[in-house]
């Protein structure tokens, strides 16, 4: 199998999963597409340099995660924060959103508020179905550390979810 063939096999197998993962991680479909493209280019370059890949799935997720981290790191240049409270998420205030869409928006809103160190394992585990061992491989931490992060991530998710839901209910009742 030539290098190109090997890469095409990887690409067709994982491109959907990787793009979906990045999309949920960043809450930005366009950026996720860019980064997915970059992920596979990085993967190709690594293969071209003769990299040995034992766990292609974890390896690709690791590249994608690193690309996303780089993106998050670079995307936030000097940003002046709004002086007034910016808790209001515009996505939550669309006119008559369906319940599922609203739920999805709330979930995404909550995910965005999670620190990347918690958001990444949570998505890898619950959305992508990776095991804690695989996540440990991707993040370069132990399995126990992954479990602890997962626990904290879930707790944060739960609290933020409650807070946003409660606020929304309060505002809805005020409007009524």
């Amino acid at each position: 199998m030539t290098l190109e063939e090997e890469f095409q096999a990887l690409f067709s197998t994982y491109q959907h999963a990787i793009t979906g993962y990045l999309s949920n991680l960043l809450d930005d479909t366009d950026r996720a597409q860019e980064l997915a493209q970059e992920t596979f280019l990085r993967a190709y370059c690594a293969l071209a340099r003769g990299a040995r890949v034992e766990h292609p799935r974890a390896w690709l997720y690791r590249i994608a995660t690193n690309a996303a981290r780089d993106h998050i790191r670079r995307a936030r240049r000097v940003q002046w924060l709004p002086l007034l409270d910016d808790d209001r998420d515009p996505a939550l205030h669309q006119s008559n959103p369906s319940e599922a869409l609203a739920d999805r928006l709330v979930v995404r809103s909550v995910l965005v508020r999670l620190a990347p160190e918690y958001r990444i394992p949570l998505l890898l585990h619950l959305s992508e179905g990776l095991s804690t061992a695989e996540i440990g491989l991707i993040l370069g931490i132990s399995r126990d550390a992954v479990k602890m992060r997962l626990y904290r991530a879930r707790e944060q998710f739960r609290q933020i979810f409650r807070a946003i839901n409660g606020q929304e209910i309060e505002e809805t009742s005020n409007e009524v």
Partner: protein
């Protein structure tokens, strides 16, 4: 099993549970309703997250990826080859760098004890033959052949050091030994300012019968100054009335000889009074040889006022010219009536100093009255008077020769006396080398004693052979002392190695930079996973790291300098172990910097940490027992400032990037460094001299950096977390209160302290450290406010411009000691003559960086100010769009700022005018009364601060806690500024900074630094306003964001 363990299991998807875990969980959930509820929530969570949409790549992007892969496959091989070639080129450059560095390292060889092969000519006495007796012309017919009169400006300067037995004599004192009459103009030395004429004025009666009037130039500007309006020129000590008398005397047939000293600036004011048109057309104040010379014109005839030249044999007055120098007359004769005025230039008339500049005769003393020089004057006087002088010129010169030998012996004795056993032990740490050096010094002392004995033998009678013998001894000792100092005290001279280092440095730097660039290029070419479109952004992101890497390279170069070329930093002799430790640390930091996986902040902090260590190592010289590197108070202040600046950089990074753990580590390292040095120093003293209370105070109390650093790091760790606002402001207020209370306690304790080094309250309060400390607190508080806004959004990623600013802050702080070094460090060498040369050629990497450092230090306050201004601007914009009532308040804040700023400027200008010693018109004015200055400066300060405070209190305050904090800051600042009136001086450079920024490069270093500090203080003030304004806006807006957000775990 406890709930917490079950919850940890619940957090993981059930598919990962083992059978035993599943059983445990199920059993627990059946018994614990809270965990069961949590499990249900987790399931719901999983369902929600799993149901998120997962779009795939669009067809266009799929095609783009595959196309790119096909394209890259072709380029891949070419890129790899190019990358390899670049890497090889970088390697070659690096090898060249290393080769040059190693080849330039000095070869250590012990100084041979054998005597020098050739004896240099140290004193060129009598190298020029004595003047041949010139045929004398017949004096004018109406010449009055009575005794000549010499007007001498002051009391005799004979007797100036060295007092005995070979005192310095000026030419007139020597002439006075002959058949001449000296008439002193002043009974006292007259060098004190505002001295008055004390002798009666020159009259026509006194000049009656005088054959020649010699009017020498005087150096007594102050003495000749407007003493009752009678003196119109300084140069010849003649009043207008006296000038008239002299003119009548000359017109009646008298002769006047005006002798100028071109070693000083002089003009011809008195000659103008005589009706002679005279001017100085060219004056070399201080030429390469260290002499003055001038060209003058007398009634359109030019002549040279000789400086370093020795006169050729004198020809007759009736000839064409008496002496010519460089084709010009060295003497001018102007007839007035029946008499004549002769103008002559001779150097060093005033005090007869024997020393000549170091470039002549290797810095050794030479008799000033060379045969031809003295003989020339005597011949001129004899020619003018038409009578022998009665002086034995040869005898006079012989005395001068002996005096020169005496001074040479004294100077060599002084240089040798500096080589104490302690200094020898420091300079030559190895036993064998130390013994050789000690033996050499002893042998040289013996030779000097021999020379002194020989000199004593010369007292009996002139003995040219013995004289030459003494000179030989001195020449031999001089050469050996020079050799020893070059080898063991290389900072005293620019040694061959140092010169080599200086010449090599640009090449070495170029090679290193080239290697680094090629390496980066090779790395970039090899990396194929970056789209070209993002390169520019990546380079921008890389910039702070490139700067940090370059700084580490500079550290490596500095270490190479210190080790290879035995150079010193800041003029201090560093301990060898410390130097090697510094080099090792620089190397380690460089390796860590390039280690993969190291956090970005750590990378940026590494050069700062290394510099900090270097600074502490500098202070360690005291600790390691170098007695001559005594730790001084002002050095402590410099170190304190630098420590505070670096701490601020770390704190800003820790707070803004929300890295409490990183910050804790940095704080630990920093505090350990400071405590290690301060505590170790105290411990060393305690072990040597026994325990004293000040050894504890010196570590724990200001000006020790420890309390300041503890305050800053505590505050920052609190903010980096972050806590709720009331807690933060409360702790800040508590810290400030404790600080003030601590200072007060010190003041009270100070009454009982006998030790002069104990810091007193006023010193503490006046200390400039308060300004940067308040600035740091203000900026940190601003950072905290900024950070609070992002509290729920997770860790802030590294932002390049912010990182660069932080790096800059730390760098500027660290460079501050280097900036201060030229103005401060010579003072520490003043008490130690052998060290005075330490500070002349600070050849090290800092020298290379100094121009950059000045720019950085000058621009740092501007950057801070710009940042805060932008913040204020943004604040105003946001406020305008949110609540209509806010813009008015913001405008009031800005107006208050402008008013206070204008007042501060007024105060600064008033301070400059009132305290500057430069304008002469101030001298004689009532403003020189210090009480007036104090009153004026105090009033300006009071107006500044009181105006600001009043304006702020007039409107809505900054909120409860903000008001308390700001009030506390003002409470500290007001008395500090009022009591430290002299400290307003730093503001004097402010007008330069604000009106003409390039002018900053012309400011003296201390003024530059103090102006920078003033700027920073101003920025702190604005920072306070921003904090206060923000608190106000938040309270009236949606409230504290922390209250509506989830705190971080």
């Amino acid at each position: 099993m406890k709930c917490k363990q079950i919850r940890l299991l619940l957090a993981v998807s059930p598919r990962e549970w083992s059978a035993a875990e599943r059983a445990l969980v199920e059993a627990h959930l059946a018994a614990c309703p809270r965990c069961a509820e949590l499990a249900r929530e987790y399931v719901s969570q999983e369902r929600r997250i799993a149901s998120l949409p997962r779009p795939g790549l669009s067809p266009e992007r799929e095609e783009a990826v595959l196309a790119r892969v096909r394209r890259e496959a072709g380029w891949l091989r070419w890129r790899m080859r190019l990358s390899n070639a670049l890497a090889m080129a970088a390697g070659v450059l690096l090898a060249l760098f290393l080769g040059l560095t190693v080849s330039a390292l000095p070869r250590r060889a012990l100084i041979a004890v054998t005597p020098p092969t050739a004896t240099p000519e140290l004193w060129s006495v009598a190298t020029t033959p004595a003047p041949t007796a010139a045929p004398r012309s017949t004096p004018p017919a109406n010449h009055r052949s009575t005794d000549p009169l010499i007007l001498v400006d002051n009391g005799p300067r004979s007797g100036m050091s060295p007092p005995e037995p070979y005192a310095h004599r000026d030419l007139y004192t020597i002439l006075g030994q002959g058949d001449y009459r000296l008439r002193y103009r002043f009974d006292t030395e007259g060098m004190e300012p505002m001295s008055r004429l004390e002798s009666p004025p020159l009259t026509a009666e006194e000049l009656d019968g005088v054959a020649l009037l010699i009017v020498p130039w005087t150096s007594c500007y102050a003495a000749g100054g407007n003493a009752g309006g009678r003196m119109v020129t300084y140069d010849f000590n003649l009043t207008v009335e006296e000038a008239k008398v002299v003119r009548e005397y000359v017109a009646g047939g008298g002769q006047a000889l005006f002798v100028l000293d071109p070693t000083y600036q002089c003009d011809f004011g008195a000659l103008s009074l005589l009706g002679i048109e005279a001017e100085v057309t060219r004056a070399v104040v201080w030429d390469d040889e260290g002499f003055h010379s001038a060209e003058g014109r007398l009634n359109n005839r030019s002549f040279l006022l000789a400086g370093q030249h020795r006169f050729q044999p004198v020809r007759s007055l009736s000839g064409e010219a008496w002496a010519r120098l460089d084709g010009q007359d060295a003497l001018a004769v102007e007839p007035i009536g029946q008499g004549r005025v002769v103008v002559l230039g001779l150097p060093f008339l005033v005090n007869g100093m024997r020393l000549v500049p170091p470039t002549a005769d290797q810095g050794q003393p030479a008799p000033l009255f060379t045969a031809d020089n003295l003989a020339f004057l005597v011949a001129v006087v004899e020619e003018l008077t038409g009578a022998p002088s009665g002086l034995d010129v040869e005898a006079i010169l012989w005395e001068e020769r002996k005096g020169a030998l005496h001074e040479g012996i004294m100077q060599l004795e002084e240089r040798l006396s500096a080589w104490t056993p302690e200094r020898i032990a420091w300079a030559a740490p190895h036993e064998d080398e130390r013994q050789v050096l000690a033996d050499q010094v002893t042998a040289l002392r013996t030779r000097i004693a021999e020379a002194r004995e020989q000199l004593a033998g010369l007292e009996a009678e002139p003995d040219p052979a013995r004289y030459q013998a003494v000179r030989g001894i001195l020449a031999e000792v001089l050469e050996r002392v020079n050799q020893i100092e070059v080898k063991y005290a290389p900072w005293a001279y620019e040694s061959r190695e140092a010169r080599q280092a200086r010449r090599l440095r640009p090449w070495l730097l170029g090679l290193l930079a080239g290697a680094a660039l090629l390496s980066i290029a090779a790395w970039r070419v090899r990396r194929l996973d970056r789209a070209p479109a993002t390169w520019a952004r990546q380079w921008a992101a890389l910039l702070p790291f490139v700067v940090a890497a370059l700084l580490l390279v500079v550290h490596l170069l500095a270490a190479a300098d210190l080790i290879g070329f035995r150079l010193r930093v800041g003029g201090y002799p560093l301990h060898r172990g410390g130097v090697w430790g510094y080099a090792a640390l620089a190397l380690l930091a460089t390796l860590v910097f390039f280690k993969p996986g190291v956090s970005s902040l750590t990378r940026l902090a590494l050069p700062l940490l290394v510099s900090l260590t270097l600074m502490q190592a500098h202070l360690l010289t005291d600790l390691v027992g170098a007695e001559y590197a005594t730790y001084r108070d002002y050095e402590g202040e410099i170190a304190l400032m630098a420590n505070l600046g670096v701490a601020m950089a770390f704190c800003l990074a820790g707070v803004l990037y929300r890295r409490p753990r990183w910050l804790a580590v940095m704080a630990g390292v920093h505090l350990a460094l400071v405590f290690g040095v301060m505590g170790g120093n105290s411990l060393a003293y305690a072990l040597r001299d026994g325990f004293e209370p000040w050894q504890v105070y010196a570590v724990a109390l200001p000006p020790s950096p420890l309390p300041y650093l503890v305050i800053l790091y505590t505050l920052s760790l609190l903010a980096a977390r972050p806590v709720r606002q009331p807690t933060y402001w409360g702790v800040l207020a508590l810290l400030l209160s404790l600080f003030v209370a601590g200072g007060t306690l010190q003041f009270i304790l100070g009454f009982t302290w006998v030790d002069s080094s104990a810091p007193a309250f006023f010193d503490w309060l006046n200390n400039l450290i308060l300004i940067p400390l308040l600035l740091a607190m203000g900026v940190l508080s601003g950072a905290y406010q900024w950070h609070v806004r992002r509290a729920a959004t997770g860790r802030l990623p590294l932002i390049t411009p912010l990182a660069a600013t932080i790096l800059l802050v730390g760098l500027a702080a660290l460079i501050m000691p280097s900036l201060l070094a030229p103005s401060h460090l010579p003072e520490s060498g003043a008490a130690m003559p052998w060290r005075s040369a330490d500070f002349q050629v600070p050849l090290n990497a800092w020298t290379v960086l100094l121009p950059i450092a000045r720019v950085l230090a000058a621009s740092a306050p501007w950057l801070v100010l710009l940042t805060i201004t932008l913040q204020v601007w943004q604040l105003m914009d946001r406020a305008q769009g949110a609540t209509p009532s806010i813009p008015g308040r913001v405008r009031r804040w800005l107006l208050a700022l402008a008013v206070s700023y204008a007042l501060l400027l007024t105060g600064a200008v008033a301070d400059e005018i009132l305290t500057s010693p430069q304008p002469h018109w101030v001298w004689a004015s009532p403003w020189e009364d210090p009480r007036i200055r104090v009153l004026g400066a105090g009033l300006a300060s009071l107006l500044s601060v009181a105006g600001l405070t009043a304006w702020l209190n007039r409107r809505a305050g900054p909120g409860r806690w903000g008001g308390v904090v700001y009030g506390l800051m003002l409470a500290v600042q007001v008395p500090a500024w009022l009591l430290g009136l002299g400290r307003l001086r730093p503001l004097s450079g402010l007008s330069v900074l604000l009106t003409w920024p390039p002018g900053i490069s012309f400011l003296p270093v201390r003024e530059l630094v103090s102006s920078g500090l003033a700027m920073l203080a101003l920025a702190a003030l604005i920072g306070h306003l921003v904090i206060a304004g923000r608190v106000l806006v938040l309270r009236e807006g949606r409230g504290d964001p922390l209250k509506s957000r989830v705190p971080p775990p």
